[in-house]
């Protein structure tokens, strides 16, 4: 694969051309190699900082804000939702293995029984449903948004560990992968055009983050106070390219998240970070 990249000289084509044959692990290492050649000396764990990984000044701005995050109130609200028992007296912690600790980094998972990808957010909704509570909307900041800001923090520090086992799981991964590389919208961009080909470059005032490291640190608080789940961020990027976005919680986004999260395997989870 590396030889292939060097031969073609242009990483995207190598990655794209291998669409059918690449295994998830080959994909991940091709992404990582591409970025590491382009950004020598940046430790892989720093990729969780997205656009902030490229420049010392913007990184210290980030560190300053993270020292006293303006979004602590939202995480606190999420903790209240998490701790408040359902009407039947049970709690999320009772519903999930190990009280929900070190779990978010193993999602999305493929469910053979249901032949579909299950995200961490779906898991939380299942907990609600199984305990007789109405499910939350996937794009609702005040409920699912803050709930995951807290629930995901229970996995802080664990390493992302996504598994794609078997042909049926691989098919969902491939669906996500093909959305990532597909040019869409009036602007005619693929996710890969920005987050693979042009990571590290500046779009107007924002440094574009590499795809590796993006899935480990959601939700983000843009401007310090505007919560975005990962799917809400997908929606925003699709709107920016003037494509008809898929809704948060849609199957297309679940599959995209499956592929996208695999790319961050091995990186440390860190829920709720500041973004510009």
């Amino acid at each position: 694969m590396i030889a292939r990249l060097a031969l073609l000289g242009f990483a995207v084509f190598a990655l794209e051309a291998n669409a059918a044959s690449a295994t998830p692990e080959e994909d991940r290492s091709a992404f990582v190699q591409t970025f590491q050649q382009r950004f020598p000396g940046v430790p892989l764990d720093d990729y969780v900082h997205g656009g902030f990984m490229f420049n010392r000044a913007s990184r210290s701005h980030y560190d300053d804000i993270m020292a006293f995050p303006p979004f602590l109130g939202d995480i606190e609200r999420g903790k209240v939702l998490w701790d408040t028992p359902f009407r039947n007296g049970r709690t999320y912690a009772q519903c999930l293995p190990d009280g929900g600790r070190n779990l978010a980094g193993t999602y999305p998972r493929f469910s053979t029984a249901e032949d579909r990808v299950i995200t961490f957010e779906m898991l939380l909704n299942r907990c609600r449903r199984d305990n007789g509570e109405p499910e939350y909307r996937y794009d609702d900041r005040a409920t699912m948004g803050v709930l995951t800001a807290y629930a995901r923090s229970l996995s802080d520090g664990m390493r992302m560990d996504i598994k794609v086992d078997g042909a049926a799981a691989l098919a969902k991964y491939e669906e996500g992968r093909s959305l990532f590389f597909r040019r869409i919208g009036q602007m005619n961009f693929a996710c890969s055009n920005c987050h693979l080909d042009n990571a590290g470059k500046v779009m107007r005032m924002e440094t574009i983050s590499p795809a590796v490291g993006q899935a480990v640190h959601f939700p983000v608080f843009r401007g310090g106070d505007e919560l975005y789940t990962l799917h809400m961020r997908y929606t925003r990027c699709m709107m920016q390219v003037r494509a008809q976005p898929f809704p948060a919680g849609s199957e297309a986004f679940n599959n995209l998240e499956y592929f996208h999260s695999y790319l961050s395997n091995g990186l440390p989870m860190q829920a709720s970070v500041y973004r510009r």
Binding site: F13, N193, K201, V202, M203, R204, M205
Partner: protein, 111 residues
């Protein structure tokens, strides 16, 4: 309607107008229209605020594009020259109208 008015205004503009006065400037800078500053710096236009590095700075254009039609073609569909480009195909995808592209090309030509 608006663009027809702009065309007339452009034709009426004095030959020595600076780039900053041209009606194509507003279209090029407007985030809902050309949004060129998302990707390009324009060093000759002091009002063009951006830190973009996605595309090359638009500078010294007249010398490099003596033929304005070639410049217009680049804006209409950058994919012709470079199929892997990320520059949006303003004409082919009707992001701008034909007359808006004329005006943008006129402005860019002066940079």
């Amino acid at each position: 309607m608006f663009s027809a008015w702009v065309v007339v205004a452009a034709l009426a503009a004095p030959a020595l107008a600076t780039a900053a006065d041209l009606p194509g400037r507003a279209i090029a800078h407007d985030q809902e229209k050309g949004n060129c500053l998302a990707c390009h710096r324009m060093p000759a236009d002091p009002g063009a605020e951006t830190a973009a590095t996605l595309g090359p700075p638009l500078a010294d254009i007249k010398r490099r594009y003596p033929d304005r039609a070639a410049l217009r073609a680049q804006i209409w569909d950058a994919g012709v020259k470079n199929p892997a480009t990320i520059m949006p195909p303003y004409g082919r995808h009707r992001i701008l109208t034909e007359s808006e592209i004329d005006l943008v090309a006129e402005y860019i030509h002066g940079l």
